[in-house]
């Protein structure tokens, strides 16, 4: 049911750098000219944080269970042992508390990485994220910058119910002063995490619980400790000419799978991995739509005021004459996430939904409303 398992065709493996075996080691023989190693997203995040903490003594970690427990999802494994309790802080249970403390530390020049066990709990601290972190540089006329990173899993996991499954990308991305990133692959995770830590502005770093165990090939360049990805640039994961599909985080995998299915039916889809939600790479998106003339936006979160809504507006404003079909928005259902497993599956986008939407933009299939 969860497309993640099959999305990368037949490749499974555990990189030599992984700190714990997450999957049986079955190596498929395949030769890439540059990518010989594989790395899980979990290890990518762990290594990125480790390298940045090593390079800059001002960087420190804070959150519930990040130290002794090795992280609720083991992202911060080994860091307490390496850097000690002064730089890896297990906090009491108070999101509002430790977020406020992190912002205060950032005001004074430290570089905190604040973990929310999931972004659902960031709501208990949102005043500090928005009013304290996002707006301080502006309100102080540039005197007080807030070099803080808020990170943690975002969006739907599996069977965790309404209060653990919301996507917060639209909430944070609507606020000026924040930068909002959403990695997909291990390369994204490493490059964007390093960029976030080095960035002088507050960054909201939206991970995905179900992607933590996913393995991706990583080149030597990605593994280098100086590797960094630019904030605000999307990546074209797959080139195409008939329809543009935008996605971020886990949905990138689904979009790629959909593109594979579509290619067998003669539709060449271009898949854009947004990577950066704020600032949004409007140039890349618009250039792609000007080439393909059709657009499908994909996200897991609620439809109203979502990321797709902003992308639609941007394309209509900048590339209206290039559109040959109405834009299709794929989003989660407009209901709190159901707990019943069969209903949960229906409440989030599946690969088939993306395929059907792409076909509709190519006039290969009419919408249900048209045939009613």
């Amino acid at each position: 049911m969860w497309g993640i398992v099959g999305q990368r065709a037949c490749r499974h493996g555990s990189s030599a750098m992984s700190l714990q075996v997450t999957r049986p080691v079955i190596h498929a023989l395949r030769s890439f000219s540059t990518a010989a190693k594989e790395m899980t997203v979990r290890d990518a995040l762990n290594s990125a944080i480790d390298e940045e903490m090593s390079a800059d003594p001002k960087v420190f970690l804070m959150g519930e269970e990040v130290g002794e427990y090795q992280g609720a999802y083991k992202i911060t494994k080994g860091l307490l042992e390496k850097y000690g309790p002064d730089r890896v802080l297990d906090t009491p249970i108070t999101e509002a508390g430790f977020t406020g403390i992190g912002v205060g530390a950032a005001y004074h020049g430290l570089k905190p990485i604040v973990e929310f066990m999931t972004f659902n709990f960031s709501m208990q601290a949102i005043d500090h994220i928005i009013n304290s972190a996002a707006k301080s540089n502006y309100m102080s006329a540039g005197q007080i910058s807030v070099p803080i990173v808020f990170r943690g899993p975002n969006g739907a996991a599996a069977g965790v119910g309404a209060q653990h499954s919301q996507c917060y990308a639209p909430w944070f991305a609507s606020c000026p002063g924040l930068k909002v990133l959403a990695p997909y692959s291990s390369e994204d995770a490493r490059g964007l995490m390093k960029a976030a830590i080095r960035d002088p502005d507050p960054v909201v770093f939206l991970e995905n619980e179900l992607l933590y165990g996913e393995s991706f090939p990583v080149s030597a360049e990605v593994l280098d400790s100086s590797f960094c990805l630019p904030i605000g640039k999307a990546k074209i994961e797959r080139e195409g000419k008939d329809v543009t599909i935008t996605a971020f985080s886990k949905m990138v995998g689904y979009a790629l799978k959909a593109a594979e299915i579509l290619s067998k039916e003669g539709i060449s889809a271009e898949v854009i991995n947004l990577r950066s939600i704020r600032p949004l790479d409007r140039a890349t998106i618009n250039n792609s739509v000007r080439k393909t003339n059709r657009l499908v936006t994909v996200e897991e979160g609620f439809p109203q005021h979502g990321i797709g809504a902003e992308i639609c507006a941007s394309v209509v404003e900048d590339s209206f004459e290039y559109l040959d079909a109405a834009i299709e928005r794929i989003a989660g259902a407009d209901v709190p996430m159901p707990y019943a497993a069969n209903l949960e599956r229906l409440a989030v986008p599946q690969v088939e939904d993306i395929v059907r939407a792409a076909k509709r933009t190519c006039y290969r299939s009419s919408s249900l409303a048209a045939t009613a």
């Binding site: 049911m1 519930e64 269970e65 002794e68 427990y69 609720a72 297990d90 009491p92 249970i93 108070t94 509002a96 508390g97 659902n120 709990f121 709501m123 208990q124 069977g159 965790v160 119910g161 309404a162 209060q163 653990h164 259902a333 407009d334 209901v335 709190p336 159901p338 707990y339 019943a340 497993a341 069969n342 209903l343 599956r345 229906l346 409440a347 599946q350 088939e352 059907r356 249900l368 409303a369 009613a372």
Partner: protein, 260 residues
């Protein structure tokens, strides 16, 4: 989400994931009881970790000022996942926090069923007759792991767990007390265990036979009445499932939702 049950009939608000958010709720509900002059109070449960949350402080403060009939029952079991109480706070437990807010507070041995019963009974009496909040700190120990995916021997000694399991087990203590009074014996114990097990197995069997929730259930209860956009979404989904059955599992009952 498991453990997130609730029952209007049993006066039990649905359990939430957000820690300590239930405490201001408890005070609000108590205030409502107070306004209605009901012969009732509210009891709000939380752990040692919950006493760190901002909501705990707001709740206690309000309860004291509003003079709300609410019992704050803290299960201090020494651990919040892997965080020991010494990393959670440096106060003398949770009981002093209650006192700091002007709430009458008491510390009880949480593993002594009789002491707990006595304390809660008195607390209820006081809360209702005097219309004031009470805090009970029940000191105990979390013998189990935090969840089934946790191995707590990684962050605490096995000997410590075993000691509490053996020496301070509330079930064992209570049973010994019953037996010493001649009200319980091994046969009764064996029979109770056997009956409970049978009841549980039967309940599982009944649950497994229940049909999975229908598509319509996804759209009900978002609001009191189903709004038109959800009515449309539900119709669209039904049509999609009917049109592309190969993309959907067969155990999804497709039944219409009544229109508002």
């Amino acid at each position: 989400m498991p453990v997130h049950y609730g029952s209007k009939k049993l006066n039990y608000f649905t359990v939430a994931s957000t820690i300590a958010s239930q405490l201001p709720h408890a005070v609000g509900a108590a205030y409502s009881l107070k306004m209605d002059g009901k012969d009732a109070c509210v009891v709000g449960y939380f752990g040692d970790g919950g006493s760190s949350e901002g909501d705990f402080h707001a709740a206690l403060n309000f309860a004291a000022v509003l003079e709300a009939p609410v019992i704050f029952l803290c299960r201090n079991n020494g651990w919040a996942i892997s965080t020991p109480a010494s990393d959670q706070f440096r106060s003398d437990g949770v009981v002093v926090k209650g006192q700091a807010y002007g709430v009458r507070s008491i510390r009880v041995d949480g593993n002594d069923a009789l002491a707990m019963y006595s304390a809660v009974r008195s607390a209820r009496e006081m809360a209702i007759t005097e219309q004031k909040p009470i805090l009970i700190e029940a000191v105990t120990y979390r013998v189990g792991h935090h969840t089934t995916s946790d191995d707590s021997t990684r962050y605490r000694p096995l000997e410590e767990i075993e000691w509490w399991q053996m020496a301070r087990n509330p079930l064992t203590l209570y049973r010994k007390w019953l037996e010493s009074n001649g009200w319980w014996n091994d046969e009764a114990e064996a029979e109770l265990r056997s009956n409970s097990r049978k009841e549980l197995l039967k309940a599982i069997q009944v649950a497994e036979k229940i049909e999975k929730p229908p598509v319509g259930d996804m759209f009900t209860d978002v609001y009191d009445a189903v709004p038109s956009n959800l009515f449309e979404q539900e119709k669209l989904l039904q049509q999609t499932v009917t049109r592309y059955p190969q993309d959907y599992p067969s155990d999804v009952p497709v039944r219409a939702v009544p229109s508002s």
